[in-house]
């Protein structure tokens, strides 16, 4: 399952080719960051920048988030032309890209999706848990996928892949990009890891009060920094409902009802959009368990409307269409 070829090298080769053949103006990929466990987004606009590109399990960010702003309808300088953009995309990222194309936030013809095989990215918090307070100074992904860490104490530690992976990745149904233009490496193809919605089902099975309690606890952590929203590729609204005036939907205070309103609203707005990439959870500085909530929306959309976000460019978004025979078991009868 692990890819033997060096994917970073293959990626660099493809990127170079794209620039040399003048097929793109910009490439969004990852480069090594300043912190040991965090490869970060980078923007390459010429062949000179290609060499810094990397691809491994430390490349966690969903780069699709950057697409809408490249094609924003406001602030287009004179003579603006839509850029031609290549984007490095894991399965989830590619699904986000598809969603954005469908919602016209990026023109299909201007996007080159570089599908990378992804068997999961590393969860910083899990590694921190595993290290129990020790401070890593460098990290490397080993051949078998485990994470090798050098600590400030001089010691080195190996964290197994299972313990290091982000939760969303272990359940991921789409390790490969379902829609892509150029595939980097080989297809993983294996969706056996798919365990759809066990967590959500367990949560649903609880009685209302524990569900409410958990929601309340998680919401109490929120500082309304909106990092979840900013990190989410689907949250491209020019002005989020949370910040609108006329009318003002939300108060500005940190009151729990307002916090809850925000999350209830934001997650509802993810219906048919969320690909469960986990960007919101990764961005949240307070460690709120958002996925148990976002995944509910993913599950319901799938179960009620048979729709999975971002796997096809043709299917209409589920809330923009209907079927005569849609479920209405929820309707109150006398």
């Amino acid at each position: 399952m692990r890819q033997k070829t060096n994917l970073s090298d293959e990626l660099k080769w493809v990127a170079r080719k794209l620039f040399e053949e003048n097929r793109i103006d910009l490439l969004i990929g990852y480069e090594k960051g300043t912190l040991p466990l965090h490869n970060r987004p980078c923007f390459v606009s010429s062949v000179e920048g290609v060499d810094k590109l990397v691809w491994d399990s430390l490349c966690a960010n969903n780069l699709a988030t950057y697409l809408p702003r490249l094609f924003t309808r406001t602030h287009r300088p004179k003579g603006w032309k839509p850029p031609r953009v290549a984007i490095v995309a894991k399965g989830c990222d590619a699904r986000s890209v598809v969603g954005l194309i469908k919602e016209k936030q990026a023109p299909r013809e201007n996007i080159v999706i570089l599908g990378v095989p992804c068997d999961g990215v590393v969860d910083l918090r899990k590694i921190e848990d595993a290290l129990d307070g020790a401070c890593p100074v460098s990290a490397k992904v080993a051949e078998d996928g485990s994470i090798m860490l050098q600590l400030d104490s001089g010691k080195s530690v190996q964290v197994s892949r299972e313990k290091a992976l982000f939760d969303a990745c272990s359940d991921c149904p789409y390790p490969d990009a379902p829609v892509f233009d150029i595939r980097i490496g080989r297809e993983i193809g294996d969706k056996s890891a798919r365990r759809p919605f066990k967590d959500v089902e367990e949560f649903e099975a609880k009685s209302p009060e524990p569900r409410w309690k958990y929601f309340l606890e998680e919401m109490s952590k929120c500082i309304r920094c909106y990092a979840c929203r900013q990190a989410c590729p689907n949250c491209y609204c020019p002005t989020c409902f949370a910040e609108q005036t006329q009318p003002k939907w939300l108060g500005v205070g940190a009151d729990l009802p307002e916090v809850m309103y925000f999350h209830l609203g934001r997650i509802f707005h993810q219906a048919g959009r969320c690909v469960d990439c986990g960007a919101c959870v990764r961005a949240c500085p307070m460690g709120i368990d958002l996925r148990i909530f976002t995944r509910k929306m993913v599950k319901d959309v799938q179960e009620l409307f048979g729709y999975e976000a971002g796997i096809s460019l043709d299917e209409p978004p589920p809330l923009c269409t209907f079927k005569m025979e849609d479920d209405e078991s929820f309707i109150t009868e006398p």
């Binding site: 300043t34 970060r40 987004p41 960010n61 602030h75 848990d129 990190a231 990764r282």
Partner: protein, 337 residues
């Protein structure tokens, strides 16, 4: 000033009595509590088992002086109603790191200059700050580069050092000295060895941080206003505002009224220069239209305008913005010469 004041020491086993005495004396005690892997500031009950072996608090103590969300006044049918819940309690803030204490001193420059912000001032006046010397900085820390140190005393009333068996308690301000005097039965004079041990700890901690030469950064930034220095970090920036919320010195706020039926209140809440709405005019015009201008603003404010206005860098090197940035925008890369 510090050398004119005699250092005190306290055996660790007496510290529980100390915290109880603080509470018994009518103070609300805010100090370290561990939540998961992280240290947070929490209100501590008497006899709490306090230790200072965390690296730093997850969030800065800013919220205690400039609340994220604070009611300035309430009104009913347009008439202001006196707020019975106005908070006058005396507080002790225990265990913040010297960087955060220094940040408080920077905030003082903003909020206490005449005319002073009465809401801030009341809280500031009511609070005794006991900061704890930093012995294990994180790899994102760089206080020494911005004029701080693991043991800097600015903003603190008392500086505490964990010496293993005992705590060294150095009063920094008269307020701190008064405070320590009230609990003199629990302390003794510090020994020379103890003072030396503290210096050793501080030196070792400082040596673990890389020091950048930021001399003349204000001018350097002022000249770079139109340069491409801001391009790389801003391109990556998500505009989330975590950096400003976690920053101990960011202090921008917004004032809003909200009403429900006949009642209303005026709220002061944190704002962030990283948000696009921060500068959005009612007309729809936005003088900082993209993340580039907003990123630049944040850096300019901290490293250039602040020098012009207050003669200080508004960065204490706590590294929180680096640690929590979801896309690894590392401030050190931008400010490095």
């Amino acid at each position: 000033m510090a050398e004119t004041i005699t250092a005190r020491a306290m055996e660790k086993k007496k510290f529980a009595d100390f915290t109880r005495a603080i509470v018994d004396n009518g103070y609300q005690l805010y100090g370290p509590a561990i939540e998961g892997r992280e240290a947070i500031i929490a209100q501590i009950a008497e006899q709490a088992d306090v230790s200072f072996d965390y690296r730093n608090f997850k969030m800065s103590p800013k919220d205690l002086f400039l609340s994220q969300s604070e009611v300035l006044c309430r009104f009913c049918r347009g008439e202001i109603v006196p707020d019975a819940a106005a908070d006058d309690g005396r507080r002790v803030l225990l265990g913040i790191r010297p960087c955060d204490a220094k940040a408080i001193s920077l905030m003082d420059k903003v909020f206490l200059q005449e005319p002073a912000d009465s809401y801030y001032k009341r809280k500031r006046d009511n609070t005794v700050v006991i900061s704890a010397v930093c012995s294990s900085p994180e790899d994102t820390c760089f206080c020494t580069s911005v004029g701080g140190s693991p043991a800097s005393t600015e903003g603190s009333d008392i500086l505490l050092t964990d010496l293993g068996e005992s705590y060294l308690l150095e009063p920094v301000t008269p307020k701190g000295e008064d405070f320590l005097n009230r609990f003199s039965s629990l302390t003794r004079n510090a020994s020379k060895n103890e003072v030396r041990e503290k210096e050793r700890i501080v030196e070792e901690a400082a040596s673990r941080m890389q020091k950048m030469d930021l001399e003349g950064i204000a001018e350097r930034f002022a000249k770079a206003f139109e340069s491409d220095l801001w391009d790389t970090p801003s391109q990556r920036c998500l505009g989330c505002g975590i950096c400003t919320y976690f920053c101990p010195t960011c202090h921008c706020f917004d004032v809003t009224d909200e009403t429900l039926h006949e009642n209303g209140r005026r709220l002061r809440t944190w704002d962030s220069c990283m948000y696009s709405l921060f500068t959005l005019h009612a007309s729809g015009h936005n003088p900082r239209p993209s993340q580039r201008e907003r990123t630049r603003q944040r850096f300019m404010h901290k490293f250039s305008y602040s020098v012009d206005n207050y003669g200080e860098l508004f960065c204490v090197g706590c590294g929180r913005c680096i640690k929590h940035c979801p896309v690894n925008i590392d401030l050190r890369e931008v400010i490095a010469p």
